[in-house]
C-alpha cells in the first residue's frame, strides 16, 4: 500500500490509461478513470478484471485483494467528477488540441494545488500549459508501454513547472513503484530522443546497401548485446508509430540533421507495411 493514498484521476481509458489506472490502484490509490466512450470504459474494466484474476491465479494476491483493488477504481464519463482529485494523469491520444482542451477543463475544475500530469511522449509540456492558470502544477509524466510492466517514468519539467511540483511528481512515481528520471521539456525527452539513431542510422546503413535487414539485426544483437535488432523492434512498435515519433522529434528540433527521417520508412508507411500488426514490415509474418 502507498505511504499515503491519493485520489488520482486518469483521463483516457485506452491501453495506456487503463494500465496507469491499474498501476495506481495496485498501490492503494483511489482512481477515477475517465473516458467519454462507454465501450472503451467497458474494455478497461475487462482488462483490469482479467489482469487481477491472473495475479490471483499466480498467487500474487488473494481474491479479497483483487476485489479491494477493483473497488478502488471508479469508471466515469463526466470530467466534473475529477474535482476531488489530488493528482490527474491525462493519457489521451497524442493531439495537442485534444490535450489543450482537457487541461483547460482541468484548470477550471480541479483545486489549484492539484497536480496535473500529461502522459505524452512527444508534445511540449510548456505548450500544453501555456496560457492556463497555475501552469506551475502542469508537468509531463511519461510512462512506457505496457505501463504496468515497464519501470520507467520520465518526469518532465515544463518551463513554468515549479520545483516543488516536480519533486511531488517524482515522489509519486516512486510511490507507484516506478523508476523516475527528471528531464527538462525538450523534443523526445530522453528515451525517444536518444533512441532515434538506433532506428534512423540502421535505416541509413540499409539504404546505403552496407548490410541487409537480417544482418544488421544480427550484428546489433550479437556484437552489441541489444535484446532486439532495430528492424524487428520497428516491426513490433509499428513502423508508422516509429516514423511519426522521428518526424515529430525532427520537426521540433527545427530540422536538425541528426533526426532526419528515412525515406525507406516513409515508403513502408505509404505502402501499409507497418510491421507485425499488418502481417508485414521489414519481415514477413504471414509465412
Amino acid at each position: 500500500m502507498a505511504m499515503h493514498t491519493e485520489t488520482v484521476g486518469v483521463i483516457g481509458a485506452g491501453t495506456m490509461g487503463a494500465g496507469i489506472a491499474l498501476v495506481c490502484a495496485r498501490k492503494g490509490h483511489k482512481v477515477k478513470l475517465l473516458d467519454t466512450n462507454q465501450a472503451v470504459l467497458d474494455k478497461a474494466l475487462t482488462y483490469l478484471q482479467a489482469t487481477l484474476s491472473k495475479d490471483v491465479e499466480k498467487g500474487r494476491i488473494s481474491d479479497g485483494q483483487k476485489a479491494e483493488t477493483l473497488a478502488l477504481v471508479d469508471f466515469v464519463s463526466d470530467m466534473e467528477l475529477l474535482a476531488v482529485c489530488d493528482i490527474v494523469i491525462e493519457a489521451v491520444p497524442e493531439r495537442l488540441d485534444l490535450k489543450k482542451n482537457i487541461f483547460g477543463g482541468l484548470s477550471r475544475i480541479c483545486r489549484s494545488d492539484a497536480l496535473l500530469l500529461t502522459n505524452t511522449s512527444s508534445i511540449s509540456i510548456t505548450e500544453i500549459a501555456g496560457g492556463l492558470p497555475h501552469p506551475e502544477r502542469i508537468l509531463g509524466f511519461h510512462f512506457f508501454n505496457p505501463a504496468p510492466v515497464m519501470p520507467l517514468v520520465e518526469v518532465i519539467r515544463g518551463t513554468k513547472s515549479s520545483e516543488e511540483n516536480v519533486q511531488r511528481a517524482y515522489r509519486f512515481a516512486e510511490e507507484l513503484g516506478k523508476v523516475p528520471v527528471l528531464v527538462t521539456d525538450s523534443p523526445g525527452f530522453i528515451v525517444n530522443r536518444i533512441a532515434r539513431p538506433y532506428y534512423n542510422e540502421a535505416l541509413r546503413i540499409l539504404g546505403d546497401n552496407l548490410a541487409d535487414v537480417e544482418k544488421i539485426d544480427r550484428i546489433m544483437k550479437r556484437a552489441g548485446g541489444f535484446k532486439m535488432g532495430p528492424f524487428e523492434l520497428q516491426d513490433m512498435i509499428g513502423i508508422d508509430i516509429n516514423f511519426a515519433t522521428t518526424q515529430s522529434v525532427y520537426t521540433d528540433f527545427f530540422h536538425e540533421g541528426r533526426f532526419k527521417p528515412s525515406r525507406i520508412q516513409q515508403r513502408m508507411v505509404q505502402a501499409g507495411s507497418l510491421g507485425r500488426k499488418t502481417g508485414e514490415g521489414f519481415y514477413d509474418y504471414n509465412k
Binding site: 512506457f144 515497464m150 519501470p151 520507467l152 520520465e154 523508476v179 528520471v181 527528471l182 528531464v183 527538462t184 525538450s186 530522453i190 528515451v191 530522443r193 536518444i194 533512441a195 532515434r196 539513431p197 538506433y198 542510422e201 540502421a202 546503413i205 546505403d208 546497401n209 552496407l210 548490410a211 544482418k215 544488421i216 544480427r218 550484428i219 546489433m220 550479437r222 556484437a223 552489441g224 548485446g225 541489444f226 535484446k227 532486439m228 532495430p230 536538425e256 540533421g257 541528426r258 532526419k260
Partner: protein, 251 residues
C-alpha cells in the same frame, strides 16, 4: 586455423590494443611488436593495426607494415574512423588490406564485423574471418564504410546522449537509467562510452562527419572536449563519470 606456431603482428594505440593482445595470446598465438617483427618478418602470418584517433600515425604504420611484410600476409585494420578502402590506398599491395571493427570490452562481443575494402582480395578476407573465428568470435561481412554497423550506430546514440547532457536536459545517471529501464539497452549510453573509451567514439563520429559530410554526424562539443582533456572514461579515471583507482564509479 592452426597458426599456433605463427606470430601475429599487433600495432596501434586504440583501447582495443590491450584486449586484443590478451585475447590473441590466450588463443596460443605469439604477438609481435613492430620492432620484434622487423628482425623476423617471415614469422608474421597476419598483421593487425588498430589506430583510430591518430590517422597520420595510422598511415605511417600501414606503410611500414606494407614495406615489411611479403604481399601474402594480410593486413587487418580497424575501419572505425576511416574506410578500409582509404587505408588500402596507402599501400603498394592493397589486395591484402581488410577492415574490421569492434569496440571494447571484447569479452562482450560474440561477433566481429569484417569490412573488405573495394581492393581486398577474397583470400585476405577469408584469412581475416578465420583469424577472428580462431579467437572464438563469429564474423559477419559488411560493406566498407566508416564505423561499420554496431560501432557506428552505438557512437551516434552516445553522441546524442552527450548532446542531451551538454544541454543539461537531464543528469548522466538519469540519461543512463532512462535508456536501460525505458528501452532495455544493455548499458546506459554514457556509462557504456566510459567503458569503450570516449576517444574511440569520437574517432567514429569525426570520421563519419569527415567522410559523409552531413550535419547528421556532427560531434557533440562536450564529447570532443572531454577527449581533448583526456577524460576518455574508466581508462583515464574520468569521462562522463569519475572513477576511483579500482574503476568503481564515484560521481
Amino acid at each position: 586455423m592452426t597458426t599456433t606456431n605463427k606470430a601475429v603482428l599487433l600495432v596501434g594505440d586504440s583501447p582495443l590494443y590491450g584486449e586484443l593482445h590478451q585475447l590473441i595470446t590466450d588463443r596460443g598465438y605469439r604477438v609481435l611488436s613492430l620492432e620484434e617483427a622487423a628482425v623476423q618478418p617471415e614469422a608474421v602470418s597476419l598483421a593487425i593495426e588498430v589506430n583510430s584517433v591518430h590517422l597520420q600515425a595510422k598511415e605511417e604504420l600501414i606503410r611500414k607494415l606494407d614495406q615489411l611484410l611479403v604481399p601474402a600476409v594480410p593486413i587487418v585494420t580497424t575501419s572505425l574512423a576511416i574506410t578500409a578502402t582509404e587505408t588500402a590506398s596507402w599501400t603498394k599491395h592493397p589486395g591484402r588490406v581488410c577492415g574490421f571493427g569492434t569496440l571494447a570490452p571484447l569479452a562482450e562481443r560474440e561477433l566481429i564485423e569484417i569490412a573488405p575494402a573495394l581492393q581486398t582480395e577474397e583470400a585476405a578476407v577469408r584469412a581475416t574471418e578465420s583469424f577472428f573465428q580462431s579467437l572464438g568470435k563469429e564474423t559477419e561481412r559488411v560493406e566498407d564504410e566508416v564505423g561499420l554497423v554496431f560501432p557506428r550506430i552505438l557512437s551516434l546514440i552516445i553522441n546524442e546522449a552527450a548532446f542531451t547532457l551538454m544541454e543539461k536536459t537531464a543528469t548522466p545517471r538519469d540519461i543512463d537509467t532512462a535508456m536501460k529501464q525505458g528501452t532495455n539497452y544493455p548499458y546506459g549510453p554514457l556509462e557504456w562510452a566510459d567503458r569503450i573509451g570516449l576517444d574511440e567514439i569520437y574517432a567514429i563520429t569525426r570520421g563519419l562527419q569527415r567522410d559523409l559530410a552531413e550535419e547528421r554526424y556532427r560531434t557533440a562539443p562536450l564529447l570532443r572536449k572531454l577527449v581533448l582533456a583526456n577524460r576518455v572514461g574508466v581508462r583515464s579515471g574520468q569521462g562522463f563519470y569519475t572513477y576511483d583507482a579500482k574503476g568503481g564509479c564515484g560521481v
